[in-house]
C-alpha cells in the first residue's frame, strides 16, 4: 500500500505546529497503525529528520498509552486503541490525517504526545478505596452481589487513554471520571467514601480545566473499552444526591 500521511508536527509545548505531509510506500495491510508509523520513523531517521514522537507501550490495547486522532476520529475508524488498529482498514492511495488529542487539559508535549497527567490527579483526589496494606478483612467477609461486581467491572475496564476527552467537543472528562466513580461506588467496599469520592473527583475534574458534559455521547462512541454512557448518569446521580 502507498499512503499519504498528514501528521501534526510540533517541536514543543509552546512551539507552533502544523500538519506535515509524508509519503509512505510498501505498507502491509497486516501492519498495525503504529508499525506503519515505525516504518516511517525508520526512514525519517535515515534521512536525518526527527522521527514522529508518539506515546505507546504495551501495543496490545491495554496500557492506554497510545492515542491519536486519525481522520478526525479518536483511535481511528475501528473501535479499538490505535495500537490495535490495522492498516487493512485503509485503502491504497488513502490520505490519512493524524493529529494529537486536543483538549486544554491535555497540552501537547511534542508531535502526537500529550500530557494526560490531569487524569492522575483526578484519581488521586478520590479514585481509590482507603485500605492501607495490612488492614484488609478476609476476602469473603463481604460478599458482593454479582450485579454490583459486574457493574463495577464494566467501568473498571477504563484504560485512561483519553479518547473520551479527545472525542468530546467540550474536552470533558466525565466518562473517565464516571468510570472510576461507578467502579468504586458500586462495591460495598467503596461505600464509606462514596460521597467524598464523588464530590472530590468532580471538583478536581473541573479544576483541571476539562469542559462540562453536554451529553453528546461522543465519548462512549470513541471509547475503545466500551465504557457505557450510562456511567455518566450514575455519576450525576451520586453527585447530586451527595453534594
Amino acid at each position: 500500500m502507498n499512503l499519504t500521511l498528514r501528521i501534526w508536527r510540533q517541536t514543543g509545548p509552546d512551539a507552533p505546529g502544523a500538519l506535515t505531509r509524508y509519503q509512505v510506500s510498501g505498507i502491509s495491510p497486516e501492519m498495525s497503525f503504529l508499525e506503519m508509523l515505525d516504518t516511517l520513523n525508520e526512514e525519517l531517521i535515515l534521512t536525518g529528520e526527527q522521527p514522529i514522537a508518539f506515546d505507546h507501550d504495551c501495543r496490545e490495547g491495554i496500557c492506554g498509552a497510545c492515542g491519536m486522532v486519525i481522520n478526525g476520529q479518536a483511535h481511528g475508524p475501528e473501535r479499538t486503541t490505535t495500537c490495535q488498529l490495522h492498516m487493512r482498514h485503509f485503502r491504497d492511495g488513502d490520505t490519512i490525517d493524524v493529529e494529537p488529542w486536543r483538549a486544554a487539559a491535555f497540552p501537547v508535549v511534542k508531535d502526537l504526545v500529550v500530557d494526560r497527567s490531569a487524569f492522575d490527579r483526578i484519581i488521586g483526589s478520590g479514585g481509590y478505596i482507603t485500605a492501607p496494606t495490612g488492614s484488609a478483612p478476609e476476602a469473603h467477609a463481604t460478599p458482593v452481589p454479582k450485579e454490583a461486581a459486574d457493574l463495577a467491572f464494566e467501568h473498571a475496564e477504563c484504560i485512561g487513554c483519553g479518547a473520551c476527552v479527545a472525542a468530546c467537543p467540550n474536552g470533558s472528562a466525565m466518562l473517565f471520571t464516571a468510570a472510576k466513580v461507578v467502579h468504586l461506588n458500586a462495591l460495598p467496599q467503596g461505600a464509606p467514601e462514596r460521597a467524598t469520592r464523588t464530590r472530590s473527583m468532580v471538583a478536581t475534574m473541573d479544576a483541571e480545566g476539562f469542559g462540562g458534559c453536554t451529553n453528546t455521547g461522543e465519548c462512549a462512541t470513541a471509547c475503545p473499552k466500551g465504557i457505557p454512557l450510562s456511567g455518566i448518569s450514575l455519576l450525576n446521580r451520586d453527585f447530586l444526591r451527595r453534594a
Binding site: 502491509s28 515505525d38 504495551c58 492522575d120 485500605a131 484488609a136 478483612p137
Partner: protein
C-alpha cells in the same frame, strides 16, 4: 574479547537473612527479628522506588502509608501504565475456597517443582503464605474479581494445576490488580507522601561508601539529568525480555535500571532463565514490533497440529485428517495439548524446524477449535473464549471459528534478575529488587498466574517489612549534595548520551535491536547448544562495536527524544545479552526454560543435572566485555525432594 568466556569462580554466595527453623515460621521470625523505625522518624527517611508496576506501585503506596518519604519514578506518562497491566490469566492464592485440597504447603510445593528445583525454598514458602493476604488486600481496595452468584469469589484452575486456586478478573486480572495498586499510590501522591516523577527514567545508580544512596535520572520531556538521593533504593523495573526485541513485553520495557545496578556492584542471577509462552500470535512480517500473547487457557479445548509432510502449503481445510500431525497428542498421550509451557514451545519449534510450520515464514502451528465447536457448540466456545477469538481476529483478520488459529511461542517472562537475599536486598547494601526485576521465586520456570502473586507479595508485604530493618540499622547521615560521586555518575550518564548523539552513523536503534533479538532467539531462545551460544558470544561484541560506530540518533538530548531513549536502552541490552549467553553456556544442563540440546534424556526430553547445577548462578560485573565472576548460591531442598519432570 574472547576472554569473556574465561569467567572466574568466586566465593559461594549464601542467603543469610532467612532464619533457621521450621519453614512455616521463618517469615514470622524474620519480621520479629527485624528492627523497626520509630514512626516519628520515618518522615525523615527517603526511599526511592523505581517502577510503578505491581511490585513498585504496591511498595510505594505501602511505604508511604507507613510514613516514609517515597520518591518514585516511571518512564511512562503515568504510573498506571506499567506492563503488569497486560497480564491476562489470574493470580494464585492458597485460599482453598473450593475445598479441593489446596494449602500453603501445596502452593509452595507446586511452585518449587514448577520452577524445576532452581528456586530458594524459604522464599517460595513465604510467597505461598502471603498469597492469601494479597487477595484480602486487593478485595478491600475494590479490585473487581470474578464472583459467583452468591457474591463470593470465583476461582479457576490454571496452567495444568490440579487445584482451583487462580483468582481472576475476566481476561484482565493484571490490569485490575495494577489499577488497585495505582489507586493506592495515587492516594499517597495526592497526600504528598509520594513524590511521583512520571516520564523520568533511571539511568544510573549512585553508590556512596558501599551503599546505594540514589539514582541519576533523565526527565524524558526536557532531557534534564538530575540526581535523587535517598536512604535506600528499590528497583521494581521488571524483566529483560525485550533483549529479544520481539517479546510480549511492552515496547519500552528495558533492562537499564537493573543492568546499571549490576554494573555498580549488584550480582545478576540466572540471566539465561527466560520463559517462552507457547500461545502467541505469530509474526506477520518484518515490520512486526512486538508479539501478542493469548491466554494459554486456549489449549484446554484447542488441538495443536501441523501438516505431516514438510512444505505442505495447502489451506488447513484441504488437509485431510490422515495428513495432519497432532504432535503433542502423539508424543505426550497422557497430557496431550496441556503439557507445560516449555515443552509445548519446544515441540512447536521442532516441527517448524522440520519445515512443517504454517503461515508466513513457516513460523506457526495450528490451534484448531473445529472439534471443540462440534462437541460443545459454537455458543459454548464463544462464551469461553469469545474475547480471545475477537482479539485474534482483530490482529490477523482471520476468523478462528472457521479457520484454525496460528500460534507460535514467544518470549514472555524472565525468571532471572538481580540476586537478592530473603530480605530482597541485592548484594549491594541499600539496593533492593522486587517483582520480575529480581531472580527470587520462580527458579528456572514460572507457573502461570504466579507473576502477579510475586509482584504484589514483594511490594505490599515483604519489602515494607524488610526495608524497615535496613533503615533502622542505617546511620542517618545524609549525603551532601556536592558529594564528588554524584558529579562523577552524572558525568558518566551525560557522556554516554552525548556519545550516542555524536556517532551520527547510518543505522537506526531498531535495526540493531532487531539484529540482536534475532541472534538471541536463534541461539539463546527455546533451544540452546554449545556451538550456537559460542557463535552468539562471538557476534555480540562485534555487534556492540558496530553499534558504537554506526548508530544514528537524531535530535538533541535536551528534548523528548524517543530515538535516544531506545539507543540508550539498547546499550544495556547489548551488554546483558552477552551475560545471558555466557550463563546459558556455563549451565550445561537443561532445566525449566533453559534447554540445552546436549542435555537430554534418552527419549529427548530435558535432563536436569542436580549434582552439578543445583545452584543459582550470580554473576559479578568486572567491566564491559571482560569476564565476569561467578558466585554460586547452593540450593538446599529440605522440604521438596527434587524429581525429574515427566509428561510422557
Amino acid at each position: 574479547m574472547s576472554n569473556y568466556l574465561d569467567y572466574r569462580l568466586g566465593a559461594d554466595l549464601a542467603d543469610t537473612r532467612a532464619p533457621a527453623g521450621p519453614i512455616e515460621g521463618r517469615w514470622d521470625q524474620r519480621r520479629f527479628d527485624a528492627k523497626l523505625v520509630n514512626p516519628a522518624n520515618r518522615r525523615g527517611r527517603t526511599v526511592i522506588v523505581v517502577g510503578t508496576g505491581l511490585a513498585g506501585g504496591a511498595a510505594g503506596a505501602t511505604l508511604a502509608e507507613q510514613g516514609y518519604h517515597v520518591v518514585q519514578f516511571c518512564f511512562q506518562d503515568s504510573p498506571r501504565r506499567a506492563h503488569s497491566i497486560a497480564a491476562q490469566g489470574g493470580i494464585n492464592a492458597a485460599k482453598n475456597y473450593r475445598n479441593d485440597g489446596d494449602s500453603v504447603r501445596r502452593l509452595f510445593y507446586d511452585t518449587v517443582k514448577g520452577g524445576d528445583f532452581r528456586s530458594r525454598e524459604s522464599n517460595v514458602h513465604r510467597l505461598a503464605q502471603i498469597s492469601v493476604e494479597i487477595i484480602d488486600q486487593c478485595v478491600a481496595q475494590g479490585v473487581p474479581f470474578a464472583r459467583e452468584y452468591g457474591g463470593l469469589l470465583d476461582t479457576r484452575s490454571f496452567g495444568g494445576v490440579q487445584v482451583s486456586r487462580t483468582f481472576y478478573a475476566r481476561g484482565q486480572t493484571g490490569q485490575q490488580l495494577l489499577l488497585g495498586a495505582y489507586q493506592a499510590l495515587s492516594r499517597q501522591i495526592a497526600a504528598g507522601s509520594v513524590q511521583m516523577h512520571a516520564r523520568t527514567e533511571m539511568l544510573d545508580l549512585v553508590v556512596i561508601d558501599g551503599r546505594a544512596r540514589g539514582i541519576v535520572a533523565r526527565d524524558l520531556v526536557t532531557g534534564r539529568i538530575s540526581t535523587h538521593l535517598a536512604d535506600a533504593v528499590v528497583l521494581a523495573t521488571g524483566g529483560y525480555g525485550n533483549v529479544f526485541y520481539l517479546s510480549t513485553n511492552a515496547k519500552n520495557s528495558n533492562t537499564t535500571a537493573i543492568w546499571r545496578a549490576h554494573r555498580r556492584g549488584a550480582y545478576f542471577a540466572n540471566p539465561c532463565f527466560t520463559q517462552i509462552h507457547p500461545t502467541c500470535i505469530p509474526r506477520s512480517g518484518d515490520h512486526q514490533s512486538k508479539l501478542t500473547l493469548m491466554s494459554e487457557s486456549l489449549r484446554n479445548d484447542g488441538r495443536i497440529w501441523v501438516p505431516s509432510a514438510p512444505g505442505d502449503t495447502r489451506p488447513p481445510a484441504e488437509i485431510p485428517e490422515a495428513e495432519r500431525d497432532y504432535y503433542l497428542e502423539r508424543t505426550y498421550p497422557a497430557f496431550g495439548n496441556l503439557v507445560p509451557r516449555d515443552i509445548a514451545s519446544r515441540a512447536a519449534k521442532t516441527v517448524c524446524d522440520e519445515g512443517r510450520g504454517v503461515g508466513p515464514g513457516g513460523q506457526g502451528v495450528y490451534l484448531d477449535f473445529a472439534d471443540a465447536i462440534q462437541r460443545l457448540g459454537r455458543a459454548a466456545v464463544e462464551a469461553k473464549y469469545g474475547n480471545l477469538f475477537e482479539m485474534y481476529q482483530r490482529i490477523t483478520a482471520e476468523d478462528p471459528y472457521r479457520v484454525p488459529m496460528r500460534i507460535y511461542p514467544a518470549i514472555h517472562y524472565t525468571m532471572g534478575g538481580l540476586w537478592v537475599d530473603y530480605d530482597l536486598q541485592t548484594t549491594l547494601p541499600g539496593l533492593f529488587a522486587i517483582g520480575e526485576a529480581n531472580f527470587s521465586d520462580h527458579g528456572a520456570n514460572r507457573l502461570g498466574a504466579s507473576a502477579l502473586m510475586q509482584g504484589l507479595a514483594d511490594g505490599y508485604f515483604v519489602l515494607p517489612a524488610t526495608l524497615n530493618d535496613y533503615l533502622a540499622r542505617l546511620p542517618t547521615a545524609p549525603v551532601p549534595a556536592d558529594h564528588p560521586e554524584i558529579a562523577r555518575v552524572e558525568g558518566e550518564v551525560t557522556d554516554r548520551l552525548a556519545r550516542l548523539l555524536a556517532v551520527d552513523g547510518d543505522r537506526t536503534p531498531d535495526s540493531f535491536h532487531r539484529e540482536l533479538g534475532e541472534l538471541l532467539w536463534d541461539h539463546c531462545g527455546m533451544a540452546r547448544s554449545d556451538a550456537g551460544l559460542r557463535k552468539a558470544l562471538a557476534r555480540i561484541p562485534e555487534l556492540r562495536a558496530e553499534f558504537w560506530q554506526r548508530i544514528r540518533v537524531p535530535g538533541t538530548g535536551e528534548e523528548l527524544n524517543q530515538s535516544l531513549e531506545k539507543a540508550n536502552r539498547l546499550v544495556d541490552h547489548l551488554e546483558l545479552a552477552e551475560l545471558m549467553c555466557l550463563d546459558a553456556l556455563h549451565r550445561t544442563e537443561s532445566c525449566g526454560g533453559h534447554f540445552r540440546t546436549e542435555s537430554r534424556t534418552p527419549d529427548g526430553e530435558a535432563a536436569r543435572r542436580d549434582e552439578e547445577f543445583s545452584y543459582a548462578a550470580a554473576w559479578e560485573f568486572t567491566g564491559p566485555g571482560s569476564a565476569p565472576v561467578l558466585h554460586r548460591e547452593q540450593l538446599v531442598f529440605d522440604h521438596v525432594h527434587p524429581t525429574q519432570r515427566s509428561y510422557a
